[in-house]
């Protein structure tokens, strides 16, 4: 089974990157692949709990991160250094990702057959 990693490294709403990358992950999940979602850098803002982009008349795609498991995407990694560096703590986030260190993420990317970023 091919292993795919999608790496979120951009904050939401200033660009469409996060949302369009999420769509790639969901589509790939319909095929028989082992998919991981990895959040690093400003990508950790994608997982903030209380997002309200409806006030910008944009759709809130963050609830879909909570549904990733239903789509068979069970590996969700969050770089703890990125969180600490941004003065953020785990309780501010959606409870979906496993906190891990940079070295683990590096190994995970290394072992993937495909890697997508947007």
């Amino acid at each position: 089974m091919k292993r795919l990693s999608v790496i979120f490294n951009k904050a939401p709403y200033g660009s469409q990157a996060g949302r369009e990358l999420l769509d790639i992950a969901l589509m790939a999940a319909a095929f028989d692949m082992d998919i991981s979602a990895i959040f690093i850098g400003n990508g950790v803002y994608q997982l903030l709990d209380k997002q309200q982009p409806d006030i910008l008349q944009l759709k809130n795609h963050s609830p879909t991160f909570k549904a990733l498991e239903l789509y068979g995407i069970e590996t969700i990694l969050l770089e703890q250094e990125a969180l600490a560096h941004r003065n953020m703590t785990e309780p501010q986030l959606l409870d979906v990702a496993e906190l891990t260190d940079n070295a683990t993420i590096q190994r995970h990317i290394q072992q993937s057959d495909f890697v997508f970023m947007l």
């Binding site: 660009s15 400003n42 803002y45 209380k50 910008l56």
Partner: protein, 85 residues
């Protein structure tokens, strides 16, 4: 002349600050509101809508929150605006 600098990308903060004169003010909008935890200048504002949209509460910010009507007023209180891109 006093300027209102408008910043929309957090990656550009440092260069923007280096261009600003002491009496100038800075307003964070769009993705630049992610800088809300950083230490502030004396005249520093943050667009409330963009902060809330991204999941932050106004009280979490060290910057003075403004809404769009106040944003318009700020552009008139300063002699010009500089949107730092």
């Amino acid at each position: 002349m006093k300027s209102l600098y408008i910043l929309n990308n957090p990656a550009n903060l440092e260069q923007c600050l280096s261009a600003m004169a002491p009496d100038d003010a800075l307003l964070l909008i769009e993705d630049a509101v992610l800088l809300c935890h950083q230490h502030t200048l004396h005249n520093s504002y943050i667009l409330e809508e963009d902060l809330i949209a991204r999941g932050f509460a106004t009280k979490q910010s060290h910057w003075q929150a403004v809404d769009y009507p106040q944003f318009v007023q700020l552009t008139l209180q300063y002699d010009k605006t500089v949107t730092w891109l």
